[in-house]
């Protein structure tokens, strides 16, 4: 399998109150295409930071970070924005849907950055919402949907541009057990049926158990010996 993510000697630190706080140290990581990786670790271990770096919404201090064949550390802000729009689908803990847009419009949003016609966009959105089981909720606003349903809309939005990678930051963190199971099953389907590479940050061992492999971070250092 071709690697989708290649990370070597990656470091990242933040400045807080005039002090430099290291967050990630000498990270080496390779994720193969089609993999489903769970990123675990205690709070403050740097797992969300690592996810943000892989997704191109943050920049490392040093090291090599090649994602989908592109060294994204060399890209400008606008190049990174275009790159994210084409290659990465995002699933957030709190869904991050636009409250003033319907489920259909939320899923359609990323397609406005493409050259698809209105008819093509409609077809794509219908297919994505059917796939996540919300074909009958297209005109509903987020406030009219349950947490599980909102997260399914977010998943439909994440896959709508057919990205190579899906990054998920605590995707079940705000859901009850039943809804969490539904979301994890849906993510498994995205991985199995659509071949999406999924990188999921989670605290929940049960959720992590659905991943093919688990990477554990502790104090900014990637631990060895996980499956």
């Amino acid at each position: 399998m071709q690697p989708v993510v290649e990370i070597r000697d990656l470091t990242k630190s933040y400045r807080r109150g005039g002090q430099t706080v290291p967050v990630l140290s000498d990270i080496d990581l390779v994720i193969a295409s089609g993999d489903f990786v769970g990123l675990m670790g205690p709070s403050g271990s740097g797992k969300s930071t690592l996810l943000n770096l892989i997704a191109g919404i943050d920049k490392p201090d040093s090291g090599m970070l090649r994602v989908v064949g592109v060294d994204i550390t060399t890209l400008s802000e606008s190049e990174l924005a275009d790159w994210r729009a084409q290659n990465v689908g995002f699933i957030f803990q709190f869904y991050n849907l636009m409250p003033v847009l319907t489920a259909f419009e939320n899923v359609e949003l990323p397609l406005f950055l493409t050259s698809l016609s209105a008819g093509e966009r409609r077809h794509h959105v219908n297919t994505a919402l059917e796939m996540v089981g919300l074909g009958d909720r297209m005109e509903h606003y987020p406030s009219e949907l349950s947490g599980g349903q909102q997260q399914r809309v977010a998943i439909a939005r994440a896959i709508i541009t057919d990205p190579t990678i899906l990054v998920a930051d605590e995707p079940t963190g705000d859901l009850d057990r039943v809804s969490a199971e539904e979301i994890l099953t849906l993510m498994e389907r995205m991985n199995d049926e659509l071949g999406k590479t999924i990188i999921m940050v989670t605290h929940d061992p049960h959720a992590a158990g659905r991943a093919h492999s688990i990477k554990r971070l502790d104090k900014g250092v990637l631990q060895d010996g996980e499956r």
């Binding site: 930071t49 997704a55 919404i57 943050d58 729009a85 084409q86 991050n96 003033v100 990323p110 406005f112």
Partner: protein, 384 residues
């Protein structure tokens, strides 16, 4: 389309907040328009002045009269077409608060002011009656004067009670013409004064001088004043516009205050709008970060914020401008003849629109800058 849809729905997201901001904007634009119209009304006399009319008055002060015999000397100046004497009367109609301008004028006066439209029959009736008076349409409407009515005025400069009969009602050629004046025969004034207080007879307040060539206004003015140089009553001749502006200048401090207040109102609503937009942008920090995450650039976020701010400003200003006209009309009617011309000008409407656009743009500047600059990871932290 999606951008407009987002702007529209975001604008209506907090209906109460948007509504209150809009009400503030409507009140500000309306107040600004009214105050600007008050300033315009102050200058209305100067705006309505004709370039071929000069005013000759005593160089010492408008309060000091000129001898009647100056009229013929002025008429002899090359370039002078006609001369008419006029006196400010300052009579009180029933109550001192019922102020309106009253002038005793010579017949030639009306040929110099073609903007006063008087029906021929009424004009003839006015000249037939020594005590006849011509009143403007606005004045007639304010006090209910009709042709044939007897109007008594109590003189303040010229003592005694004076009785006039309304023989005609004149209209203005356009909305800028002052129709709040009261004219009567100068001969009636002078003959009565001659009988009552002979010392005050044959005294003229101002001469209105009509010239043949407007390009020679300065030259003719100079020649008229030269006639009376080193005499006991030297003259000051100037264009009608300069004469009117001279009046306005006496109250310029008030006008400056009105202007400052009108722009202060706009500044206050700018602060309110800026606060609204800042609150809005702060609340939506997470949404902006999400949009950035999905690949939307800073330009899109700026368009969202500017669009919402301008939408509120444009709607508020449209309502404000629309309300300015009926409110100005009501204001003018309440003020009676204090403002002879009280019209919302096209310039005022354009200024109202420009102020609203400036407020909408300025209010969005800081929030848009912050939204563009915020790091995605910081913005996403605001959610949850």
């Amino acid at each position: 389309m999606h951008l407009i849809k987002l702007i529209f729905r975001n604008t209506l997201r907090h209906k109460l907040r948007t509504g209150l901001t809009m009400v503030g904007l409507v009140v500000a634009i309306l107040s600004f328009g009214l105050l600007q119209t008050v300033v315009d009304a102050w200058y209305a006399g100067a705006e309505g002045a004709a370039p071929d009319r000069l005013i000759t008055r005593n160089a010492v002060s408008l309060m000091v009269p000129l001898p009647l015999h100056y009229r013929e000397k002025i008429r002899s100046v090359d370039g002078v077409k006609a001369v008419a004497a006029a006196n400010w009367f300052a009579g009180v109609y029933q109550d001192p608060k019922n102020f309106f301008p009253q002038f005793a004028v010579e017949p030639a006066y009306f040929s110099m002011f073609p903007e006063y439209r008087i029906p021929d029959a009424q004009f003839r009736a006015f000249f037939r009656d020594r005590q006849g008076a011509l009143v403007g349409r606005k004045l007639a409407q304010t006090y209910g004067f009709r042709v044939g009515d007897v109007v008594p005025l109590k003189g303040t400069i010229f003592p005694g009670t004076w009785t006039f009969v309304v023989r005609g009602i004149y209209d203005g050629a356009d909305a800028k013409t002052d129709t709040s004046q009261f004219f009567f025969h100068w001969d009636y004034l002078n003959e009565t004064v001659k009988a009552r207080t002979p010392a005050l007879a044959n005294r003229i307040g101002i001469f209105i001088v009509q010239i043949a060539d407007v390009d020679r206004a300065a030259e003719v003015s100079e020649e008229v004043d030269a006639l009376f140089r080193n005499s006991p009553a030297e003259t000051l001749t100037e264009t009608e516009k300069a004469f009117q502006i001279g009046f306005v200048r006496q109250t310029e401090a008030i006008l400056i205050a009105v202007r400052i207040v009108s722009f202060l109102v706009i500044f206050i609503i700018l602060a309110v709008m800026a606060n609204t937009m800042a609150m809005t942008a702060r609340e939506r920090r997470g949404e902006y970060a999400t949009l950035k995450t999905l690949g939307f650039g800073g330009g899109f976020l700026a368009a969202l914020i500017f669009g919402e701010s301008l939408a509120i400003a444009v709607i508020g200003s449209l309502v404000g401008v629309a309300l300015t006209f009926p409110v100005a009309e009501w204001f003018a009617s309440e003020m009676g003849t204090l403002f002879p011309v009280f019209e919302v000008s096209r310039e005022t409407v354009m200024l109202q629109g420009a102020c609203a656009l400036a407020v909408g743009t300025a209010a969005a500047l800081f929030p848009a800058r912050r939204a563009i600059r915020v790091r995605i990871v910081d913005g996403l932290r605001a959610i949850g």
